[in-house]
């Protein structure tokens, strides 16, 4: 178990290493002169040279990479080209919004997706199943930003046109002074983020549940005289859980992508918005930092899922 875990962590580290190389070298080949970005409009040639030395841009690429890596390990991701702020700090400042969005989104989608999947699976072919499947297909098909725009139009704009305020149009409010306001502002983003993914879960739950409900041990459970509720929610659910947990790990990548779009649509100042802005500004240290953070997020999530998998499935223990 410990060995297994160490193996996963080592592989996670390898992934991050490769990822860092990928982005680092990607931006090395990118056109544009970072020194000029740092220096601003009226930089003289001497100033540019000075800045290049300061940033280490005159050193060979592998040296630059190694020094970057060395610092990155300690959490130092360098400084933004645009405002010379530490990248780690810039990202850190954006975390509350993104985490609020993502964590809430996950909760909403699990709370929506799994029950729908179960409902659908329990009555295969029935109207409820058809509805559930309809939800799944539509959810799967909705591009996040279209859904976002449409919900803004329907739940913010139209009510406001008729003079009342159903939901705010977005904007991030910190959790602390008033959690209610925080939540109220996040309801639309959460649902938008969650609906598309909830569909994935509903589908997965449904398929898994259908499969599980056909298993022999479910028949055994029924033959024991357990109530149908217990059969479904205890025996069925327990066996469905493992693949769901596994999927959750794989969806973290999806989630980050969704967060970028949602932050854009609802004007949330999260890491995703920072990334989009950094891309627009060609602020490479930030882009590298955000990509690495995203990678770290995914890697950690996957390790957690691996652990969960081991805990959930006695057969691999």
């Amino acid at each position: 178990m410990i060995r297994y875990l160490l193996g996963r962590v080592a592989f996670g580290a390898l992934i991050l290493l490769t990822l860092s190389m990928f982005v680092f070298f990607l931006f090395f080949v990118a056109p544009g002169d970072p020194a000029r970005m740092v220096a601003g409009d009226k930089a003289t040639e001497t100033q540019l040279i000075q800045i290049r030395t300061n940033l280490g841009l005159d050193r060979p690429i592998h040296e630059q990479y190694l020094s970057f890596l060395g610092k990155a390990v300690t959490g130092d991701l360098g400084f933004s080209y645009r405002n010379q702020q530490p990248v780690a700090k810039l990202i850190f400042n954006r975390l509350p919004a993104t985490l609020s969005l993502v964590v809430g989104g996950v909760l909403v989608w699990l709370a929506v997706g799994i029950p729908i999947g179960i409902m659908s699976a329990r009555h295969p072919g029935a109207v409820r199943d058809r509805l559930g499947q309809g939800f799944i297909l539509i959810g799967l098909s909705f591009p996040t930003f279209v859904l976002g725009m449409m919900s803004l139009y329907l739940f913010y704009f139209l009510p406001r046109q008729s003079g009342f305020m159903l939901f705010p149009a977005g904007g991030f409010k910190p959790f602390l002074p008033n959690p209610a306001i925080w939540a109220w502002h996040l309801i639309l983003p959460w649902t938008t983020l969650a609906l598309t993914t909830a569909a994935v879960y509903a589908r997965l739950t449904r398929g898994q549940m259908l499969e599980v409900m056909g298993e022999d041990y479910i028949r055994t459970a029924r033959a024991k005289g357990l109530s149908e509720r217990k059969v479904v929610w205890k025996h069925g659910m327990r066996a469905t859980l493992t693949p769901l947990a596994t999927q959750l790990g794989a969806d973290i990548a999806l989630l980050l992508g969704g967060a970028i779009v949602i932050e854009q649509v609802y004007g949330l100042q999260g890491v995703g918005a920072l990334a989009v802005q950094a891309v627009a500004n060609q602020d490479r240290p930030i882009i590298i930092g955000v990509v690495l953070l995203g990678g770290l997020f995914i890697v950690v999530a996957n390790i957690i899922v691996d652990i969960a998998y081991v805990l959930l499935d006695p057969r691999v223990r």
Binding site: R36, D41, Q85, P168, H185, N281
Partner: protein, 553 residues
């Protein structure tokens, strides 16, 4: 209704400020920030009345002085009680601080974008700058130079008196003093690189507010400056306790939050035509238009060798002028109530603006035939292909595509390149190497005069005059000696009629060379949240004055 002090004013914006340091601030929007945290010698009252708005008032100066010595000498008395929020405790702003502010403008590492206005006027300033340019760009060396050298034309007989001597008469000098770039500077700032991180974190405010928590690209908080007293400041009421500025939002989000009450005012947003027409239709009283003298035009790259240097040919540039459908752009911007076609370099409200059109077309819709003919004459019967970058933000893509569409009719193919807004000027247009290498052929740009009213000089000088050294915003080193001469006369002239007539001539001279294609003059539409009261535009910030609004609780 009586003003209610207190509360937090929430301001929403897309982009972070360019600079904290008043000396180097260049963006119009930054003036609003500087209005709140710093004081100038001369400033304006924020007002909905256009004339009041552009009448200079004493800020640090007790009053607006009349020049003496045939208009060459200005003597200012500094207001007592105006203080620095210095680390050692509140301290009176002195005449030495004022002179130091002027000196810092010369800093070659990060000086003032408006430097040439001053250095060409203030006696001895050009020499001071020359000396400064040879100083090594280290904090110590720069500090030593500033402390050890003098600008001859600025005298400080005592702590509260400043005498400024000019090399020539200038009707607009008083206006120039309203710019934050010439604001006084406390001695402590010399210990930091101009506008460096240390400078920012140790910002010494003189206005009613001082920067608090700052998250670059994300948010900036302004809190009350304990060193500021209301009775020392006739222009700022400073009703609100705190100002929270949020950056990094999209225009949509800003407009939505503004309307939903999650924000009070905008920072750098042009209201999209769609919202505008909606608000207009609803008769929203919070809507307000102000003129800032802003114009949009296309700069033409006459420097690069692209297309065998086609754009160096006047005929081709004239063809471009004929080709553009300005009416379409007006329509794109939101219609005639928001924008107006212009044919010269000056915008509405600038003394010198007049109606003329050297490249006329019916209803300003462009004359593709004429353009084609000119192109053919110039040796491009089959049209020409030009590279045009544009800012990937707000209305710009739409305007770019509109230009593209109208140029296409004249056989001019535009290759559009979307550019990140932040990079457009500072990293793209203003990099002379890019211009020379021809990474762009034509580029839509905008210009707002640096100050209000008699500000033609601040349009002409930085963009259309060249004295041998490259100027940031004269991308192609355009020069016309005759225009320069007339401009000089206009600067020295005293009556508005004379000034206006001279600048009008300059305008026509420049347009005859067609270094640019003027597009439209904009009115700026302002909007604010429902809680905001006493929304009075501040003329050089082109936005409601943060220091004078109050919030309905």
């Amino acid at each position: 209704q009586d003003a209610q002090p207190g509360g937090t004013l929430r301001i929403l914006g897309t982009e972070d400020l360019d600079h904290f340091d008043p000396t180097s601030a260049a963006l119009v929007t930054t003036n609003n920030f500087l209005r709140a945290v710093s004081r100038q010698l001369i400033s304006y009252e924020a007002s909905t009345d256009e004339t009041v708005r552009i009448t200079p008032k004493g800020d640090l100066a007790t009053e607006v002085p009349q020049p003496t010595d045939d208009g060459l000498t200005y003597t200012f008395k500094l207001r007592q009680g105006a203080q620095w929020n210095a680390p050692s405790g509140a301290r009176q702003i002195t005449s030495a601080d004022l002179e130091r502010g002027f000196k810092r403008m010369c800093n070659p590492a990060l000086g003032s974008a408006a430097l040439t206005y001053y250095s060409s006027l203030v006696a001895g300033m050009a020499e001071f700058c020359d000396g400064f340019s040879k100083v090594e760009p280290t904090v110590e060396a720069m500090k030593a130079y500033i402390e050890g050298n003098d600008i001859i034309g600025i005298e400080t007989p005592d702590d509260e008196t400043v005498v400024i001597k000019l090399t020539q008469r200038a009707g607009d000098f008083i206006y120039m003093l309203s710019l934050a770039t010439s604001a006084p500077a406390p001695i402590e700032v010399l210990d930091y690189l101009p506008d460096g991180p240390d400078y920012r974190s140790n910002f010494i405010a003189s206005g009613p507010y001082t920067p608090g928590a700052y998250t670059p690209d994300s948010s900036l908080q302004l809190v009350r400056n304990p060193a500021w007293t209301a009775d020392s400041d006739p222009l700022r009421k400073a009703y609100v306790d705190q100002i929270d500025i949020t950056f990094g939002l999209t225009v949509d989000a800003i407009m939505q939050q503004l309307q939903s009450g999650d924000g009070d005012m905008t920072y750098d947003v042009t209201i999209p035509p769609a919202i505008l027409s909606m608000l207009t239709a609803q008769g929203d009283e919070k809507l307000m238009t102000v003129s800032s003298g802003n114009t949009n035009f296309i700069f033409i790259n006459t420097v690069s060798g692209n297309n065998n240097g086609a754009l160096k040919d006047l005929k081709v540039r004239q063809a471009l002028n004929y080709a553009v459908d300005k009416a379409a752009i007006v329509q794109q911007m939101g219609g005639p109530s928001i924008a107006k076609p212009v044919n010269g370099i000056f915008g509405l409200g600038v003394l010198g603006y007049h109606e003329f059109d050297l490249y006329p077309s019916p209803d300003a819709k462009g004359d593709p035939e004429k353009a084609k003919a000119l192109l053919a004459e110039a040796g491009f019967p089959n049209g020409i292909t030009l590279k045009m970058p544009f800012r990937n933000k707000g209305n710009e893509p739409a305007v770019a595509q509109t230009i593209q569409a109208s140029m296409a009719k004249a056989g001019i193919t535009l290759e559009l390149t979307p550019v990140a807004p932040a990079d457009y000027y500072s990293k793209f247009m203003t990099n002379p190497v890019n211009t020379q290498e021809g990474t762009w052929d034509i580029a839509p740009v905008g210009w707002t005069p640096d100050w209000a009213g008699g500000s033609a000089r601040s349009v002409f000088q930085p963009q259309f005059s060249y004295d041998g050294t490259h100027q940031t915003y004269n991308y192609t080193d355009y020069n016309n000696d005759k225009a320069n001469e007339l401009g000089q006369q206009a600067i020295n002239a005293t009556t508005p009629e004379e000034v206006g007539a001279l600048w009008a001539q300059v305008d026509e001279l420049v347009m005859a060379d067609a270094p640019v294609v003027p597009l439209i003059a904009n009115l700026i539409v302002l909007y604010h949240g429902a809680a905001v009261q006493n929304f009075q535009p501040y003329s050089i910030g082109v936005q409601g004055d943060w220091t004078n609004v109050w919030l309905q609780q």
